[in-house]
């Protein structure tokens, strides 16, 4: 995963609340066991078609939206679509929990701002914005706003760590846990007869 420190690029403004993962990538585009590369062209397809969302433009890599962004299904394809299009940071007053966690796994920063700051950023005409993960600020024109992010996620994004490698290094702790657990909860194994 590519480490993230700071990103400066055009800001996509999406003044919509409750944008769910079905909007980020409609289910019908997931009918093939295809690779996530190429999902970017389906991003926000239906919201753009009905005129609720502006079409994402090449070069935009930061997105700001209203509350509860990425709610709904756990489909990581929603983040694949964003990342494949080129997005590296999403800004909103609140996020769907699983979506935000999926963002981090794919090197995309979920930046939580206050409702007022989200409205300020949404109100700015197309200027480039800068998301600074170390300073935890978003700058756009002469507006600079702070954002919140889980400190663990921040470290992961700054370092570009891969979870599976970290965990495989814990093999001893896991073995100790399971040895104890089998003795304490013998009933927890699925019955097979």
């Amino acid at each position: 995963m590519t480490p993230f420190t700071r990103e400066s690029a055009a800001l996509m403004r999406l003044p919509v609340a409750n944008v769910d993962t079905d909007q980020l990538i409609p289910a019908r585009f997931m009918k093939e066991p295809r690779r996530p590369e190429g999902y970017g062209r389906f991003l926000l397809r239906d919201l753009v078609a009905e005129g609720t969302a502006p079409a994402p433009a090449p070069g935009q890599t930061i997105l700001v939206a209203r509350r509860n962004f990425g709610c709904g299904s756990s489909r990581e394809a929603a983040v694949y679509a964003l990342a494949d299009f080129g997005f590296r940071a999403v800004i909103a007053p609140s996020f769907g929990d699983i979506f935000a966690s999926n963002c981090v796994k794919n090197g995309v920063v979920p930046a939580t701002v206050s409702e007022e700051d989200a409205e300020r950023l949404l109100g700015i005409e197309a200027l480039p914005a800068t998301v600074d993960l170390e300073a935890q600020t978003i700058a756009c024109g002469n507006v600079v706003v702070p954002f919140r992010i889980d400190p663990v996620w921040r470290t992961q994004l700054l370092n570009g760590w891969d979870d599976i490698d970290l965990t495989l290094a814990e093999a001893d702790s896991i073995a100790a846990f399971t040895a104890r657990d089998v003795a304490e909860r013998p009933w927890a194994a699925p019955r097979r007869d």
Partner: protein, 465 residues
């Protein structure tokens, strides 16, 4: 003396393999369900040459893409056939038990997994599907994960997690006749908002929750995600134990006795502390329907479509304006007058035997005025419903009785609501396009959907009592 603990604290503590300085904990996962959509994760572990760490704790179910018609024959849509075949190939390659397309136990993962007794109190349960929260009804810590996390669980049987905050939602008193778990949950979501429980593990408590059957508790926990919660749970009790006894994968003999002793100690202490408490009065809950495109846009059936111009919050007003336009409604229009074009009974929210009985009770002796589809939650529920004569009631009413799968909940298998049509649905998401591009979804209980089928419009089911 130990400090007081909540059910969630106990579940969490019991599964911590390792606690890291930064606040992340490595959690042991007791059950992992995979479905057709899990192919990205299998691809990720194949790419790193990893094996599935614990195939014995991993179970596959074909549900998201499976056809609901013409079962037993070849799958007509080539891309859907490939999704289903890929799941069979991935599970076979790793020695994972699969409830595949032609297995008599096949069904929606959250219906099959629970009815097989795979989900037990005190377990951690994950699946690459947000409605994994359903399994919390048993007093398990059950949550949906993304594809990268699915790959992580496949490779290690663990997950790095940050402990969510604790929230207790209490519903006290008795509900009025005809009020179901779905009405309770839609009312909760309308009250706290679709992100009202974000970052929280919800425990449902109170006399109205205790009174619910396991089916009702599953409906409730299922939609925790629609309230923004990480998971939802109900402490195990006699209802839980009675449901689990004799289920195929549940413990038996001496292990069953030992399990019951452990489960008895799971409930929250009387003085357990929660980060947030919400209390609702059961008696005021009415049959509830959604009018918009977020589950929080829900009202009693006796209410009218709200007027965005009268809303104080400009962001809420903008969302309502957009929702009303998409849904083709008019502010001030009584909800109970809105005509529907079709109905759907199914999904992991409301497709269990009790749901089908409730719908059949309303439909018995009537003809549906609109077309519709009934998809049981599992192939075993289908069989039972046929034996009980429920299937006949549905077909005699003119509804289509089909095989089990996610079907019209998400439309991935081609069961969709045509653009512009309005569907009364027992599912969990009324998002734009969820049931098909341009589809208009109203969420409600199975009995309310049945009532809408009979009258051809959104209807207060209490007039059928």
């Amino acid at each position: 003396m130990n400090s007081p603990a909540s059910l969630f604290d106990r579940l969490w503590d019991r599964h911590v393999v390792k606690r890291r300085e930064d606040g992340l904990s490595l959690l042991w996962i007791d059950r992992h369900f995979v479905h057709e959509g899990s192919h990205h994760a299998f691809g990720q572990i194949a790419a790193r040459g990893a094996k599935v760490a614990r195939p014995d704790l991993t179970f596959g179910v074909a549900d998201h893409y499976v056809p609901t018609r013409g079962r037993g024959g070849p799958v007509p849509d080539a891309s859907i056939a490939r999704m289903v075949d890929q799941l069979s190939a991935n599970t076979a390659a790793h020695g994972i038990t699969l409830f595949g397309l032609d297995d008599p136990r096949q069904g929606i993962v959250h219906v099959t997994g629970t009815e097989q007794g795979l989900t037990l109190p005190g377990l951690t349960v994950v699946c690459g599907d947000s409605h994994t929260s359903t399994h919390g009804a048993f007093g398990a810590y059950a949550f949906g994960i993304g594809a990268s996390e699915v790959a992580h669980v496949l490779a290690t049987q663990t997950l790095w997690q940050k402990k969510p905050k604790r929230m207790r939602i209490s519903v006290e008193g008795a509900t009025a006749p005809g009020i179901t778990a779905k009405d309770i949950m839609l009312t909760i979501i309308a009250t706290i908002g679709a992100d009202g429980a974000a970052g929280h593990a919800i425990e449902y408590a109170g006399t109205a929750i205790r009174a619910l059957s396991m089916e009702g508790r599953m409906t409730l926990c299922n939609m925790s995600i629609e309230a923004g919660g990480r998971c939802g749970m109900v402490a195990p009790d006699g209802t839980t134990v009675a449901y689990l006894k004799g289920r195929p994968f549940a413990p038996d003999g001496a292990l069953w006795d030992r399990a019951q002793e452990d489960w008895a100690g799971l409930a929250s202490d009387a003085d357990a502390v929660f980060d947030r408490e919400v209390a609702l009065e059961a008696a005021v809950i009415a049959p509830t329907v959604t009018w918009g495109v977020s589950p929080e846009q829900a009202l009693p059936i006796t209410a009218a479509v709200p007027d965005p111009e009268a809303m104080a919050d400009p962001v809420k007003a903008a969302a309502a304006r957009d929702a009303i336009a998409y849904m083709g409604l008019t502010p001030g229009q009584p909800l109970a007058s809105v005509p529907v074009d079709r109905v759907f009974i199914g999904s992991c929210t409301n497709s269990r035997i009790e749901d089908l009985r409730a719908a059949a009770k309303v439909l018995a002796g009537h003809r549906a005025r609109v077309p519709g589809m009934v998809s049981p939650g599992s192939s075993l529920v289908k069989q039972q419903a046929e034996e009980e004569g429920l299937a006949r009631i549905f077909t005699e009413a003119g509804l289509e009785w089909v095989a089990s799968g996610c079907s019209m909940c998400v439309g991935m298998n081609g069961d969709t609501v045509p653009a512009g049509e309005r569907c009364a649905s027992t599912t969990n998401r009324n998002f734009k396009g969820r049931q098909g591009p341009g589809a208009r979804t109203h969420l409600m209980s199975p009995a309310m959907v049945a009532a809408a089928a009979v009258t051809g419009k959104l209807t207060d089911v209490r007039q059928f009592a």
